[in-house]
């Protein structure tokens, strides 16, 4: 079994095509400097040489037979290589120096890229995937939480990630990476290992938007409670202060704004149903939509502002139906339909 293998290795060494140990040699280098992608000779050799002080200590221990094979055999293979060329090649062409197999581990015959995915189309991306996959495999046994409970992370958007790695990563592949990230993120927060945490942090958008917690609104130092409300196409902003029931809408009085009593009543329903009508003043700006939408946007905004003043009113307001958001909007018209749903009259022929 050992014989034929030996013969093949010898043959390949003679052709300077392949060095079986080169990959194994490259591996530790990769481990140490993840993003050093050597392409220039001098630079790389220097790197490898500088790092060559360390690898001999662990490399032989992991792969003793291979190193011995390669290091012991060269002398027999070298002579034919050195002798053959002089006969054909003119004297101006100098032969390559002899391979020093003593130092072969430290200085391979050809430059070996630091990353195993160097020759793939997107080495950095694949490196990231490999690393994450190894992490995932390593910590697969850690308990996880449900997707809903996991801390919300703002991962890179695809465009941002492409900038980050500097490679044209396809959407689908990035999604698969995101899947790994999400799986790692679901590890129970108390038990997340440090390396996972630091690795995950590499994939966050700068200035994590979910990091800032919503500060609960309160009444400001001037006693104003500010709240917004929406309904249909209208948006209302209400500034509610304690007062005597004076209401201004867009700088006009309520009557000028809403001719219909019903609209006025519905706009102030939050105050009316809690009998607070004469206890607050409101300064309202409302825009967009029509009369009904504006009135009911004001309803919602006033109710929310009132809750800031008196949180205890919530059940009453809930019952009065003024803090429920009406999320209905006009349904869009579709092609082939007369309106959103209406179809043209059906004719047999």
């Amino acid at each position: 079994m050992a014989r034929p293998t030996y013969g093949i290795v010898q043959a390949m060494q003679s052709l300077r095509l392949y060095s079986p140990s080169s990959y194994r040699l490259a591996a530790p280098a990769l481990r140490r400097q993840a993003r050093g992608y050597a392409t220039e000779t001098g630079n790389t050799t220097g790197d490898v040489q500088s790092s060559s002080d360390l690898p001999p200590t662990d490399l032989p221990s992991t792969e003793p037979p291979a190193t011995e094979l390669s290091s012991t055999q060269p002398p027999s293979a070298a002579p034919p290589l050195a002798e053959a060329p002089p006969s054909e090649i003119p004297p101006a062409v100098k032969a390559a120096p002899e391979i020093n197999f003593d130092r072969f581990n430290a200085q391979p015959a050809r430059i070996v890229p630091a990353s195993p995915s160097y020759f793939s189309g997107s080495p950095r991306f694949i490196d990231n995937v490999l690393k994450l996959e190894s992490l995932q495999a390593k910590y697969a046994s850690l308990p996880t939480v449900g997707a809903g409970e996991a801390p919300r992370m703002a991962w890179f958007k695809l465009a941002q990630f492409r900038d980050y790695v500097g490679e044209p990563v396809p959407m689908k592949k990035y999604k698969s990476l995101l899947k790994i990230l999400q799986r790692l993120n679901r590890i129970q927060p108390e038990m997340v290992p440090g390396e996972v945490r630091s690795e995950l942090n590499n994939f966050l958008r700068p200035g994590n938007p979910y990091a800032a917690q919503n500060v609960p609104r309160t009444v400001d130092e001037n006693g104003r409670a500010r709240a917004k409300g929406k309904r249909k196409e209208s948006t209302a902003v209400v500034q509610l202060v304690e007062g005597e029931g004076e209401i201004m809408v867009n700088g006009k009085s309520l009557v000028e704004m809403f001719q219909r009593v019903h609209d006025r009543e519905s706009a102030l329903w939050a105050l009316r149903s809690t009998q607070r009508m004469d206890k607050y003043n409101a300064w309202i700006t409302v825009k967009g939509g029509g009369v009904t939408g504006q009135a009911e946007a004001i309803t919602l905004a006033i109710a929310r502002a009132l809750l800031l003043h008196e949180p205890g009113l919530k059940p009453v307001l809930r019952k009065a139906g003024v803090i429920t958001v009406d999320a209905r909007r006009v349904e869009r018209k579709k092609p082939g339909h007369v309106k959103a749903r209406k179809m043209p009259t059906w004719v047999k022929r």
Partner: protein
Amino acid sequence: MASAWCWSCLSRLRPTPRAILPPPAVTPRITSAPFHSTAVQYANPTKKKSSLVATKYRQGQVLKRKKKAKTERARPPAVGERKALRKRIVLSNPNALEVEGMKDLSPETMVDSRLRGSVVGLPVPMLERLRAVQAFKPKQGWSIFRRPGTVLRRDTIEMGRLFEKISGDGDAPEKGKVIKKIITGMKGSGKTVHLLQAMTMGFLKNWVVITVPDARDLVSGDTAYSPVEGSKPTQYVQPNAVSALLTRTVEANRQVLSTLKVSQKHPGLSGLKPTSTLEDLAKLGFQDAAIAWTVFQALWTELNATAAAPGMENNFEARPPMLVAVDGLAHWMTETAYRDADFKPVHAHDLIFVQHFLSLLKSGQSLKNGGMLLYATSTSNNPSNYSLEVGLNQLAARQAGIAPTSEEYPQPEAYSNPNARVLDLFKPATGKESALELQTLGGLARDETRGFLEYFAHSGLLRESVNEEWVGEKWTLSGGGIIGELEKLGRHVRTAAQPVAQPVAAAN
């Protein structure tokens, strides 16, 4: 019969008109079937009622519709009937409850600040005179109460005090003063009713009340007009409108006018005797529209006379102060529906009638015996008028203490081309005497609101108990006590949804 469809190849067979086909009874049984055939065709012929008679060829479907039965329509209303119905003013509702303890508007009550916020009735003998000057408008809700009444608000009481001062006794300092006011305010804020109150007070104080109930009538091109000879630029007189004004004035002020005698010489009026009263003078005008304007001028000089002409002193009496009330001022600031001989629109200021009343606003003692000029703007059927807007803004700014030279003083926008004559009306007064004022009517105060709504409750229109909270709510809903809105709410309440009773106490 055979189906119209070939069920094997799903193609449509050409239907044979049944009339062409032989009657089914005589269809011979053919042994070799044609290509398209059905079993039905060769089944025993079904019994038909009259198999021998070929069925009639099918006729096209005709939409049969019942013709509308012509209903006998009632005769169309007579000419002017619908307008009369539209303009009808009902001042009493026998179904409404009588409000007990309601006071009448009187010289005492109109200045009584203790009555502020309460509704006082208009004196019944005065109603005919108020109708004569067209003080009531159709949609003011008079018809829902037993008798017409108005709420005594702050502005009313202030106005009452003015009336008292101007007509004052003896040598009061304010006596004979002229107050000139332009009354503005939101829709429904009670401008017209404010004029009504002023007219009532004028009648109570025995003033002469001259009103233009709707300024639009003069400019809408609905009364005759004719140019004044030799005027430059051409001015126009509206004889019928003047005649109507004289009629109104005489009907409303008969008591006063019949006691005053002619004291000046009027060479233009031949039918006038030195002993005739001012009533007789005015009557000349509405008997003959052609001289109506001359008569009006004569009447005006008589009413403004401070002393009799020489030779006529024997029966001269001091003339009472005058109240001039105009409603819908904005119509007088635009071009009218009239055209001059060159087919150019006539500006309202070229109408001599309008010009007369507007010139009273200019600085100076325009009413020699004192009195009040109340010119109200209107918000219904109102022409938008930029010049007037600017003028009123300037007036308001001056009243707020902004000097006309200051930068904050409102100026017309560049290229907006406001009418110079309109702006001229609102120029700052040169004399110290009686400058033009702007009075903006707002909403009622809370206590006034309460009094007003209690009046509804007493009249049986409201079922709710009128308490502070409820009043506050209505006050807010009416945009801060806008009285017209309150009146709507007062009527509205009977059907309005009520807020569900909820445990507010628990929430606190």
